[in-house]
């Protein structure tokens, strides 16, 4: 068994120290780098915390739209990308609305790790 606190907790705590204790005492030219480090730690922390359930729901949405496939990852996305490019998901097609919702779900999940502020004020 691994010791606690675990990776996500350690990152969160270290990030707080960086932002609240170190950053105010750094010279101005180094603050940008310190903020980048805090940003990277935040992404890593959220990625660790991104539950399998959430990742699963994005994949489930993909399968609802496209049917189950042997490969829940890039292979299905690649097919979807191709279908979109060739007009098979255009407005007016049967799958259009489902695909639009799927892309929202997929992007919401990705934003929740990489760029949660993008989602502020959205449903």
């Amino acid at each position: 068994m691994l010791e606690k606190p675990g990776a996500a907790e350690l990152l969160a705590n270290a990030r707080d120290v960086l932002l609240q204790e170190l950053l105010p005492n750094l010279p101005e030219p180094m603050r940008f780098q310190a903020r980048m480090i805090a940003n990277a730690m935040g992404i890593a922390e959220r990625e660790l915390g991104a539950s399998q359930a959430k990742a699963g729901s994005a994949r489930a949405a993909l399968e609802v739209a496209m049917g189950p496939g042997p490969d829940g990852g890039d292979g299905r996305l690649r097919e979807l990308a191709k279908e979109i490019r060739t007009g098979q998901q255009d407005p007016g097609t049967v799958d259009h609305a489902v695909t639009a919702r799927l892309l929202r779900e997929y992007t919401r999940f990705r934003c929740s790790v990489s760029a949660p502020r993008s989602l502020l004020g959205r449903g």
Binding site: Q33, M36, I37, N39, A40, I43, D74, L77, R78, L80, A81, I84, R85, G87, Q89, D90, P91, T99, A100, L103, R104, Y106, T107, R108, R110, C111, V113, S114, A115, R117, S118, L119, R122
Partner: protein
């Protein structure tokens, strides 16, 4: 940099045989370019210049400096607010890399400061109007231009060319990007008719605009310039990704569209088509996402171990969110 060699070269280029370099300071230095502030003097005169050069790592690519110098010359001659280009040096024996010298211009470029200030550049409305006029001035530069031969032949249809180039870029990537495809398909289905080509700056945005309290003092970073459609520059400036958090100010986080369009129309005599601007705004967001993917790839491939490049890749989901918003708004 051997200052004696540089001084000799500057004496010849400027015609001031007694020129001396009084001060030299690195303004910005990145992996690709460096900008040095030079204070030079000669009997009876003193000037502030900027020397822009390639870093040693990219010596093989000498065209960008020469091309950028030519673009500055053409823009300056057309009355665009750019630093006056002075001298170009292709001779590697002087500093070890190609460089050019331009007159130094006062001001700041920092986007996060600009979007927070109600007074910089003469105030939000005045500055945004001026940006419109400035773009109109850039767009007076039309092909053919003998000095800009390196730009090649203008695309017959800039909109369709954008879509084709973006898809080719996607096909070079390792991961599928269905949201970018979604945006591109929307653009394809709604592409407007082509317009006569003009010179587009292609990176005219907050962060590349130098301002003082009173006014715009320089439009910088011309390395993406190309023949294109005038609304492309307006769309790039209005894209959500250049608002530095000030989302309610749709023109680069600085001001309002009405002022930008009014400035552009006053400067060009052409009516701005807001639908075309929206088209190019979506295109801009896709383009920036493609650039961000490329930058992350430079990190992932081990070419450059830069935290900034690594983090740029994480901008992509937020840009994709914007793309979905824009497509949805267009359908509403």
């Amino acid at each position: 940099m051997d200052e004696a060699l540089l001084t000799d070269w500057l004496r010849q280029a400027s015609g001031h045989a007694a020129l001396t370099i009084r001060a030299r300071e690195l303004l910005t230095g990145g992996a690709i370019q460096q900008n040095w502030a030079l204070q030079v003097a000669w009997p009876g005169g003193q000037e502030d210049w900027v020397l822009r050069t390639d870093s040693a790592a990219v010596l093989a690519v000498s065209l960008p400096r020469r091309a950028e110098f030519a673009l500055l010359q053409v823009a300056y001659a057309a009355g665009v607010t750019v630093p006056e280009p002075l001298f170009l040096c292709d001779d590697l024996s002087v500093t070890g890399a190609p460089f050019f010298v331009m007159r130094r211009v006062a001001g700041i470029t920092a986007g996060h400061r600009l979007v927070k200030s109600d007074s910089l550049g003469g105030g939000r409305a005045a500055l945004v109007r001026r940006l419109g006029q400035e773009l109109a001035r850039i767009h007076t530069i039309r092909p053919p231009q003998p000095k800009l031969g390196f730009l090649g032949v203008p695309p017959v249809d800039a909109c369709l060319a954008f879509i084709a180039n973006s898809r080719a870029a996607l096909d070079r990537q390792r991961a599928p990007r269905p949201v970018l495809e979604w945006g591109l398909r929307h653009l394809e289905l709604n592409a407007p008719e082509p317009l006569p080509p003009v010179l587009c700056h292609n990176d005219f945005r907050t962060g590349n605009l130098m301002v003082t309290e009173q006014a715009l003092t320089a439009v910088l970073d011309w390395e993406f310039a190309a023949w294109g459609e005038p609304h492309a520059d307006l769309g790039w400036l209005c894209a959500p990704c250049w608002r530095f958090g000030n989302h309610l100010r749709e023109v680069g986080g600085i001001g309002d569209r009405a002022d930008l369009y009014a400035g552009y129309e006053a400067g060009s005599g052409q009516v701005v088509d807001p639908e075309r601007v929206r088209w190019w705004e979506l295109a801009a967001t896709i383009r920036w996402a493609l650039i961000a993917i490329d930058q992350a790839e430079r990190f992932l491939s081990g070419t450059e171990c830069s935290l900034e490049l690594a983090l740029t890749g994480h901008l992509v989901p937020g840009l994709e969110w914007n793309i979905l918003d824009m497509v949805e708004a267009a359908h509403a």
